[in-house]
């Protein structure tokens, strides 16, 4: 059940460009599932009142630690980056519904863009734990905005059982400074032609996720997508985070998502 938990910053370091990584000690780490998120109260300035919703890249239930990778884009994330080891605050979580395993047996394709990567890495861990094989496409604007240690984690996760096929981790940049020149969607066709994937998982900018969903649909592959919304509460109390569905109804991103079946979303 979603609740309020204390957390203590263990490390909070600059990674590259505007991207930071925080590890913290918090009991929520023992309950949270890949794709779920936490809503963080950043101390220091009472004039910005809302919490900051963040996905996580790794949770260690035993040591009760959570790893958050985030871009500094404004007031709240900037204050978050100023938190020092030993500082404490609270987070609301676990929030929402996370990724689920593929309904069919077979290989999965992960497609991440920008800071959509952290929850996709958590998804990869879930798949590796369950013996599901996967390949990944990770895009960013430019070469030095890639989060190298998360790319390494994707490469180094245990291989699936009973298969010696090597995992592909394809890197793209919008400006061509590293890997494939283009968007992650440009790299999808090649991989999908070679492999009969049973499931696509995606998180990143809205335009990217819409494109990924379209390609998956064309090839008749199930697709899960983790959406972002401005949030008031993060636990279904304010109806501020509506997501329009193809049925014409609104779902709540923080409660019914953030992970949705891409088929249900009105892109």
């Amino acid at each position: 059940m979603t609740s309020e938990h204390p957390f203590e910053v263990l490390t909070n370091a600059h990674v590259t460009k505007d991207i930071w990584c925080m590890t913290c000690h918090t009991p929520v780490a023992a309950q949270i599932e890949p794709g779920q998120f936490v809503n963080i109260a950043v101390p220091g300035d009472a004039s910005h009142i809302l919490r900051i919703p963040l996905s996580f890249s790794a949770a260690d239930a035993q040591r009760q630690t959570l790893e958050l990778v985030y871009a500094v884009v404004g007031e709240g994330t900037s204050r978050l980056s100023a938190m020092r080891p030993g500082e404490v605050s609270t987070m609301v979580g676990p929030c929402g519904r996370g990724w689920w395993l593929p309904k069919k047996s077979g290989r999965a394709l992960l497609v991440a863009g920008g800071v959509g990567l952290p929850p996709v890495v958590a998804c990869a861990r879930m798949l590796a734990r369950s013996g599901v094989g996967f390949d990944a496409i990770v895009g960013s604007q430019t070469s030095d905005r890639h989060v190298e240690f998360l790319l390494d984690e994707l490469r180094n996760m245990p291989p699936e059982q009973g298969c010696d096929c090597a995992r592909k981790v394809v890197v793209t940049t919008d400006d061509g400074t590293r890997g494939i020149h283009g968007f992650p969607t440009d790299a999808m066709a090649g991989l999908m032609a070679d492999h009969p994937y049973v499931q696509v998982y995606t998180c990143g900018p809205l335009g990217l996720m819409g494109g990924v969903a379209r390609i998956a649909r064309k090839r008749n592959v199930a697709c899960q997508t983790s959406l972002e919304r401005m949030m008031g509460c993060g636990f279904g109390a304010c109806s501020c985070c509506n997501v329009e569905l193809v049925s014409g109804e609104y779902a709540l991103c923080c409660k019914d998502g953030p992970v949705f079946d891409a088929e249900e979303v009105a892109w």
Partner: protein, 312 residues
């Protein structure tokens, strides 16, 4: 050390018996259940006010519905998304009856686009919601095209809604007021049989993203709430309390025990915590404890002695 005080905390909001003065503002508390992971709602609060519900489902407004404004305020334009009375009762009836059983009053909020729609929703609630301790008529939502704030804009239109619904329930009726002409409109509502008043709803406001030149939410104007509006709300509660004899539930920017106490001194019988629930989900429970402490420090034997006890 905290010693248990012997101050009486129960209040009567126009026939709605509350074990303590703390209520929640409609639309900021889900329908209670969302907060069960934070504290035991039924054995803690004096009352909860549910999200506004109409006779038929309303879809609500498109994205984005909320923006952080800085300056301790947010802007929202939810537009009263709700599943209609029948579905609301199906989803929450059992839970809300459970709150009643634990001693927490349940106020169901009634929404409509026209006088007829309020009456239709009221009739459905009367029939399907035995768990409701009373009803709150929302004539102050700034985020819908018809009804809402337009219905509460003048003493005549507000009185018209109250007159129409009055004959349709014997349970207490609270009216949720917009932040305008509260003395005059309050008097009109009282004379049509309102049992209590709740104020204020959000203050109409605007916020423009200067780079994109677009509104930060889905409509040009929306509702401002949060600690920034508290002083305005206290002033309006005080003005209204001078003008009417029925009890008032004070709402607006309450985020601390002192904020709640201020409302009571200004003349509020009960207080509703709103926006603060969203970013500080245990705040209403802390205000329950803190108000008792405050009343005890004030040396009164009952919190009722502090209602309107503001000394100019």
């Amino acid at each position: 050390m905290v010693t248990k005080s012997n101050v009486g905390m129960d209040v009567d909001l126009g026939g709605i018996a509350m074990r303590n003065p703390v209520n929640t503002a409609s639309g900021t508390f889900g329908n209670g259940r969302q907060f069960e992971g934070f504290y035991d709602v039924g054995s803690t609060l004096g009352a909860i006010t549910c999200k506004g519900v109409a006779a038929e489902p309303w879809k609500g407004n498109p994205v984005p519905r909320i923006a952080e404004l800085g300056g301790s305020a947010i802007l929202n334009s939810v537009g009263l998304q709700n599943p209609g009375v029948k579905e609301f009762v199906r989803q929450y009836g059992t839970y809300l009856q459970g709150l009643r059983d634990k001693g927490c009053a349940v106020i169901c909020q009634v929404a409509g686009h026209s006088v007829e729609e309020y009456v239709r929703a009221m009739d459905l609630f009367e029939e399907l919601a035995p768990f409701a301790s009373g009803f709150e008529i929302n004539i102050s939502c700034p985020n819908i095209a018809a009804g809402g704030a337009a219905m509460g804009a003048t003493p005549q239109s507000a009185a018209g809604v109250m007159r129409a619904v009055r004959g349709h329930t014997k349970r207490p009726v609270v009216v949720k007021m917009a932040p305008r002409d509260v003395a005059e409109i309050g008097r009109a509502l009282e004379s049509e049989g309102a049992d209590a008043l709740a104020l204020i709803n959000t203050i109409p406001g605007m916020s423009i993203d200067v780079r994109t030149r677009r509104s930060k939410v889905c409509r040009p104007t929306a509702g401002v709430s949060g600690p920034a509006i508290h002083a305005i709300a206290v002033r309006m509660v005080w003005e209204c309390a001078q003008a009417v004899g029925i009890p008032i539930c004070g709402i607006g920017g309450i985020s601390t025990v002192d904020d709640a106490a201020e409302m009571i001194l200004a003349g509020a019988t009960a207080v509703s915590v709103g926006t603060a629930n969203l970013y500080d989900p245990t705040v209403a429970a802390r205000i329950v404890r803190g108000l008792e402490q405050w009343a005890s420090e004030q040396g009164v034997s009952h919190v009722r002695e502090l209602i309107g006890a503001f000394e100019c």
